[in-house]
């Protein structure tokens, strides 16, 4: 059994940033990683994936991009190399190949059980990621065994799938990218579309992520929004990181022959039913996108007149089929595979603390798990700010939470004085 003040679980961007700030706060800690640095980026992403943020926008504490292509998007090997280089430079107290199997309350702190031994500690930082498990809808269990079923966490490339058509369920970043990639191999692709967030890759000459950063949208705090549950569950932006900076949308997908249908509402063997609300989810997405663009236009008018190329414009509204398909026999229509791009959630199966809701969400106040003092989260959607789940967002959160953790330790020390 080893003793340490703080255990950080997970050596991705969130754990590395927290380690950096805890070192600055002189808090002794260990950083436990089930695999190697950036494990999820190595083992749970498809081959063609690139980051959705430009290279310059992966700023970690004390570290940023200095290469020749600030506006390009990192491939997965580049992302892993970027994080590994950060780990080399910051030299955290890292224990790789160490899988946490339980976290329990223990005396006046916590016990972290791993396949490499047990640590006792006063504080724990959960930096194990927000996308450990692919969520699939309840109806997926009624799918005929003749149809191959896969989630984006397992998907690597089109060759992995049986020949034939594919239905992609979900039209957020993962779903639109996989529908695009699969359609470009010549397959018949259906895309089931629920609520989604449409944005152009570039607007008025700059990357949409540049605007969101510059205009402060990514810095909006969790205590500044009306409905925190809603913003924490907003689907990912329909974006793709391509060197040609292409915009991906339901329009671009339909232009290459992807068939769009409503949200998947029912499944019985190979018979699928889709919602008739497709037109409305598309209208909602178009309206929201236009509000975002209007917000950028306002910011340009007030503060950044020289930053935009050209004047305001709007994109073509989403084209909705005249009579979207409501029912489909997948087998008869040549669909051999379903890709469940229906979201992700964290895995807390090893967290033996009563702080996870029945839905599987960690209860926390801006990353402070208040019900169990000394436990902190990192890297969750809109945890402290809109950018909390981005590589670019973990630095600010780690700074604030490391200060909170430090003062928690100081208070406890004083109490035992």
């Amino acid at each position: 059994m080893s003793r340490v003040t703080t255990v950080i679980i997970g050596a991705g961007q969130a754990g590395l940033a927290m380690s950096y700030h805890l070192s600055k706060q002189s808090v002794d800690h260990v950083l436990l990683e089930r695999g190697q640095v950036g494990n999820s980026w190595s083992n749970e992403r498809w081959d063609s994936l690139r980051l959705l943020t430009p290279n310059w926008q992966s700023r970690l504490p004390g570290y940023h991009y200095i290469g020749e292509d600030p506006d390009d998007y990192r491939t997965m090997p580049e992302t892993i190399a970027f994080l590994q280089r950060y780990a080399e430079l910051t030299a955290p107290p890292l224990q790789t190949n160490t899988e946490v199997t339980a976290v329990l309350s223990h005396q006046d702190g916590y016990k972290v059980v791993t396949n490499q031994g047990i640590w006792t500690c006063k504080t724990v930082v959960l930096a194990s990621g927000a996308c450990n498990i692919a969520t699939v809808p309840e109806c997926s269990k009624n799918l005929s065994s003749d149809i191959f079923s896969i989630t984006p966490l397992e998907y690597r490339n089109p060759e992995q799938l049986p020949d034939g058509g594919v239905m992609v369920v979900g039209a957020s970043a993962s779903g639109v990218q996989l529908a695009n990639e699969l359609r470009l191999t010549g397959r018949h692709v259906m895309l089931a579309v629920g609520e989604h967030v449409r944005v152009p890759r570039t607007y008025r000459g700059r990357d949409i992520k540049w605007w969101m950063d510059a205009a402060g949208f990514l810095d909006v705090g969790y205590d500044e929004v009306d409905d925190l549950t809603r913003v924490r569950n907003v689907p990912s932006l329909q974006l793709i990181g391509c060197p040609n900076r292409q915009t991906i949308s339901l329009n671009s997908l339909q232009a290459i022959g992807v068939e769009i249908v409503g949200r998947l509402m029912g499944l019985d063997g190979s018979k699928a039913q889709f919602s008739g609300a497709l037109a409305n989810v598309c209208a909602l997405a178009d309206l929201k996108m236009n509000r975002l663009l209007a917000g950028i236009d306002e910011w340009v008018a007030e503060k950044g007149g020289d930053r935009a190329v050209g004047g305001p414009y709007r994109l073509r509204p989403t084209i909705v089929p005249d009579m979207p398909t409501l029912q489909c026999d997948l087998a008869r229509n040549g669909i051999k595979t379903i890709v469940w791009a229906t979201g992700y959630r964290p895995d807390y199966s090893w967290l033996n603390l009563p702080v996870v809701s029945p839905r599987g969400d960690l209860r926390h106040d801006g990353g402070v798990v208040t019900e169990v003092p000394g436990v902190y989260a990192m890297g969750l959607p809109f945890m402290r700010r809109r950018k909390s789940s981005l590589i670019d967002g973990v630095g600010d959160d780690a700074q604030v939470l490391s200060e909170h953790l430090r003062s928690f330790l100081d208070t406890r020390l004083a109490a035992f004085g």
Binding site: E195, G262, M265, G266, S275, A277, N280, A283, L284, N290
Partner: protein, 184 residues
């Protein structure tokens, strides 16, 4: 001085308070709506609506509403009342329009007038059993709103979109529901 003004006659604060209260009492959010139906003659039926279950108990309105349904003369019926399918369209219109008023209230938008034309297309080959490939129900439903409000076109469109997103009847019509019909 800014005063809190109730623009469209919807008590949004009460709805927001109810949402907060129900979040901490999930069982109170389970509602059951009830209608009693009785056949009169021909295709003429009378529906009586009074109580419902919600907030953890039976709720009585202290009054009842009557809605009758029948079919028009071209169906060789007596046309005593609207058809059930017109009731469904009315339900959709009522739900979406009430939703528009609520969302507008919440967003501080005053509505001057809200009108809608609702149409449902149906091919009778379905209910007459002429062609098994034709469904019984509507092939398509169109709702066309004309709204005069103190807001931009985009803001008005957003009201209508948000109302659909939160509408019970819109959901029931666009998505499948299990229906259990039994005989006592």
């Amino acid at each position: 001085m800014h005063t809190e003004e109730n623009k469209n006659g919807v008590n949004v604060q009460a709805l927001l308070d109810a949402r907060t209260a129900l979040e901490s009492a999930p069982e109170a959010a389970d509602f059951t709506w009830k209608v009693q139906a009785e056949w009169l003659n021909g295709t003429h039926t009378r529906n009586t609506i009074s109580g419902f279950h919600g907030l953890g108990q039976e709720q009585s309105r202290g009054k009842s509403f009557t809605l009758e349904t029948d079919h028009p003369e071209v169906f060789a019926a007596e046309d005593n009342a609207a058809t059930p399918v017109e009731m469904v369209l009315s339900g959709l219109a009522g739900c979406l329009t009430g939703g528009i008023a609520s969302v507008a209230e919440n967003r501080g938008i005053r509505l001057n007038s809200v009108k809608a034309e609702i149409e449902g297309d149906m091919n009778l080959y379905g209910i007459l059993g002429v062609d098994p490939s034709v469904r019984n129900g509507f092939n398509a439903i169109r709702v066309r709103y004309t709204i005069d409000a103190d807001a931009s076109k985009d803001d008005i469109e957003a009201l209508v979109a948000q109302s659909q997103k939160r509408s019970a009847v819109f959901d029931m019509i666009t998505n499948p529901s299990n229906v259990f019909v039994t005989v006592e």
